[in-house]
Structures are given as C-alpha cells and as structure tokens.
C-alpha cells in the first residue's frame, strides 16, 4: 500500500518519535485475575491484552486427549471494541490462524509430557489493538503460564521487526504496519534462542530478512527481561507487604 506519509525521516525518527531500534512502551503485570489459575495483563504501546490460563485439567471431549502428553489450547480473540471500526465478534479466519500458531508455540515450551490426557487452556483477550497483538499476546501468555505454576522449559517471548520507508526497524506501530513494506513477527525461547513462531507479511530481500530477524531477536531479549521483572515483582510484593 502506498501513501504520502513519511514513515521514517532522514534522521531515522519515526512517526511516534522512536528511533529505528526502539520498542514501544511496555507494561506487564502478572496475576491480575482471581478466578484463573494464572493471568497477566500487558500494555504494549496502544495494545491492551488480558491473558488467563486454566489447567492443567482433563481435556474434553475425550477424543481430543493425547494419551502421552497434554494438549495446549490457546484462544486468541479480539474484542468488538478493540479496533476503530467495530469488529464483528467471534472467531474469524485471522484469529483462528493466530490461535493455532500461538498454541503450537506454547506447546514447545510447556513440559506437556508431565500431564497426559490433560489440556492447558490459554485465553488471550485483545481489548485494545494497535499492531503487534500476536506478539504481545504470546508474551503475556508466557507470564500467565508462569503465574499458573505450569512446568516450563522456558518463558516464551515475542517481538516483531519490519521494513518501513526502505529501512529495517523494530516493533512496528499501527501506521507502520498498515503502510509499511514488511512485518516479521517472531517468538523465541530466550534461553536457547530457538524459534517458536515466525511469520512474514510483505517482501524482504535475504539481507533485509537476516537484519530484521536479528533485530527482532534483540527486541525479544529486551522484552524477556521485562517479563522476568514482572514475575519476580509480583511474588516479591507479596513478601514485602507483610514485612
């Protein structure tokens, strides 16, 4: 899509004043819901997402159980009021796809073999959307899984990179996503660097792809630190409250 907006100026400043390698402002809070086994709320730029984790519990219907390991059922849902024009509620082609890729990403970090025949349900509710909701949702899901006390190999984390105005930049905003040249969301396991999710929209040359990939991994590492801080902060706060 072409437009007259200059997404990035000659000094490398973007529309919202960020440099090419800056993340948007991120705020993560663990354990915000009382009825869920684990939960997390995340504010990532203009995104606002709530994640609730339930389980491990017995999977129903019976035929969807795996006798050797637990299944992971993530459900990504956008609220009707999360975008400017009202979104028709309910699962659509896009959210079914995102649910699937997130489920598969989480399956790789959860120690599913400890819970045969069970399911881990992850509900990702997008309250406010502004580009990069799948990354923010997956990041929040990682924190919520820790909060639920589910055995994990690693805390999954996601971040996007992309190309706007011919330059590779980190963490696309709304206009950059709509009018940019490419978007590359990835999720990694930060301890090992393994890729859990990788999608691409638009066109990148091999060089640009490698550059964007490295940048997104760097972004993931930054977000991972924030996740860990949010988790320890919650449990530290409980201790501090009493003393």
């Amino acid at each position: 899509m072409k437009s007259d907006i200059e997404l990035i100026n000659s000094e490398g400043k973007r529309l919202d004043g960020r440099g090419p390698e800056d993340l948007r402002k991120i705020k993560i809070e663990a354990g915000v819901l009382h009825r869920a086994d684990g939960s997390c709320s995340i504010e990532w730029g203009g995104n606002k997402i709530l994640v609730a984790v339930y389980g491990p519990r017995e999977a129903v219907p019976r035929h969807c159980q795996n006798p050797l390991r637990a299944i992971v059922q993530a459900r990504y849902n956008m609220a009707a009021f999360s975008v400017e024009d009202r979104k028709r509620p309910g699962p659509d082609r896009r959210s079914v796809e995102i649910s699937k890729v997130i489920s598969e990403a989480l399956e790789k970090v959860i120690l599913t073999e400890q819970f045969p025949r069970a399911t881990v349900d992850v509900n990702i509710e997008v309250l406010d959307a502004e580009a990069g909701t799948r990354c923010a949702g997956l990041t929040a899901a990682g924190v919520a899984l820790v909060d639920a006390g589910i055995p994990l190999r690693d805390i999954p984390v996601a971040c996007a990179a992309g190309k706007i105005g011919g330059r590779v930049v980190l963490d696309l905003g709304k206009e950059e996503d709509n009018f940019g040249d490419a978007d590359l969301p990835i999720a990694i396991s930060p301890r090992t660097g393994e890729v859990l999710l990788l999608q691409m929209d638009g066109h990148l040359t091999l060089d640009e792809f490698n550059q964007a990939y490295d940048l997104a991994v760097k972004g993931c590492q930054q977000v991972s630190e924030m996740q860990k801080k949010a988790i320890t902060h919650k449990y530290q706060a409980i201790v501090a409250e009493v003393e």
Binding site: D37, P56, G149, P151
Partner: protein, 226 residues
C-alpha cells in the same frame, strides 16, 4: 532475588551442573545443566536441587490424605474429584463397607464428601484412592473451604504446629487435605475465627514469623482456651 535466605527462582533459571548436583523435584536437565521448570523457592538438600512450588495445581502422590467430592457413582466404583488435573477412581474393594453389585449409590452418592488416601498414581496419571485406612470416613456436616494446594504446608506448619494452634484456640475439628481442601467443624464462632486465621496464612504464606502473628490474632478472638 533472595528474601532472607529463601531464594525465589523462575522457570528456565540455571540452578547448577549435573557434575556436582542432582536434579530433584521442579527441575529439568538440558545439556548437563539443571534448570528450574517453575516459579518457586530454591531448596538444596545435599547434592539434590529441588524447587518448591509457590503456585500451581495439586500434584497427587501416593499416601497423600485428600478431601474428595464424589462426582459419579457407577456399578462398581465412584469417580471422585480431588482437585487434581484428573478425577480419581474409588473402587468398591477400597471402601470399608460390604457393597452388593450395583448398590454403590446407597453408600456414596454424587455430591458426598469423603476423606480419602491416594492409593496409586500410574504413569498415565490414572489416580486411585482408598477409604481403607484408619481415620478415613465420609464427611457429614461442617464446612469445606478451598485453598491453594501450594499453601497447605504453611497451614499445617512445622510438625503440625500451625494447625494445632488453630485447633487449640478455635475448638474446631479441622482436617487439612493435601489437595488444598480444608474441612472445619465446630461452633459458628470458632469456624469464623479459624477461617480468618487460614485466610491470613494464605495471604502471608511467603513471610517469616507467621506462627507468632497467627497466635496473636487467635488469642485476641478466643474467649476461653482449653
């Protein structure tokens, strides 16, 4: 990240090397290194590294005393909810009564509460419980409350010190199931006080000197002590 000697660890945090230590509960090994698999307290006993969970579901182990709610009565067994990821099976041979074929509903029916023991957990996590042990019975009267299974050790206290304290001051009959269900029976005031104490333990479970603070709280409310 330490809180007066008790260190909180988070998943994927490196805890040690397999050359010097052994991987215990709540940990896993990858390429010769031991990592935590959950959020919890680090507990090193000799060369074993354990992580004691702070949150999470009840993980049944044989020998645990649990409080279960009957979900279904079949002709030769009951399915019982014991707060674990899976329902538990109670076979007619595992109850102290003589039961004719198909008469299971006469003894235990949907909604009944029992105090049971976990008999076995097999590799596919099929659970079996039993009523054939001393002090196991069908519960009548009283209150059942749910707490987090990870807080149960704090509610019981060292060698049962905390629970003995609550029993002493509230004059209630209390039984704490390993699965996070607590049964309390006594006069209404005593139950009220016991609930208050248990709630305080739950919210302050991670702190030190809790037993003393609970004793103060109970002393204030108790009129007469045995």
């Amino acid at each position: 990240m330490s809180t007066d000697g008790r260190q909180i660890v988070i998943p994927s945090q490196e805890l040690g090397d397999t050359k010097t230590h052994k991987s215990g509960r709540g940990t896993f090994v990858e390429r010769g290194k031991i990592y935590s698999e959950r959020i919890g307290f680090l507990n090193i006993q000799g060369d074993m590294i354990h992580v004691v969970p702070i949150t999470g579901r009840y993980d049944p182990t044989p020998g645990d005393f649990v409080i279960g709610i009957v979900e279904e009565a079949s002709t030769s067994n009951w399915m019982v909810d014991i707060n674990a990821p899976y329902p538990a099976l109670l076979h007619v041979n595992e109850v102290p009564w003589e039961i004719d074929f198909g008469d299971t509903e006469k003894y235990l029916n949907k909604g009944d509460t029992i105090l049971a023991k976990v008999l076995q957990v097999d590799e596919s996590k099929k659970l079996q419980i039993t009523l054939n042990d001393r002090n196991l019975f069908k519960i009548k009267g009283g209150h059942i409350i749910d707490v987090e299974a990870s807080k149960v050790p704090r509610i019981i206290g060292k060698k049962g010190s905390m629970i003995a304290l609550i029993k002493k001051y509230t004059r209630c009959r209390i039984f704490v199931g390993q699965n996070g269900r607590i049964w309390i029976d006594g006069d209404p005031e005593g139950i009220e006080n016991a609930l208050q104490a248990i709630n305080k333990i739950q919210t302050e479970a991670l702190s030190f000197g809790l037993t003393n603070r609970i004793e103060e709280l109970l002393k204030k409310d108790a009129k007469d002590v045995r």
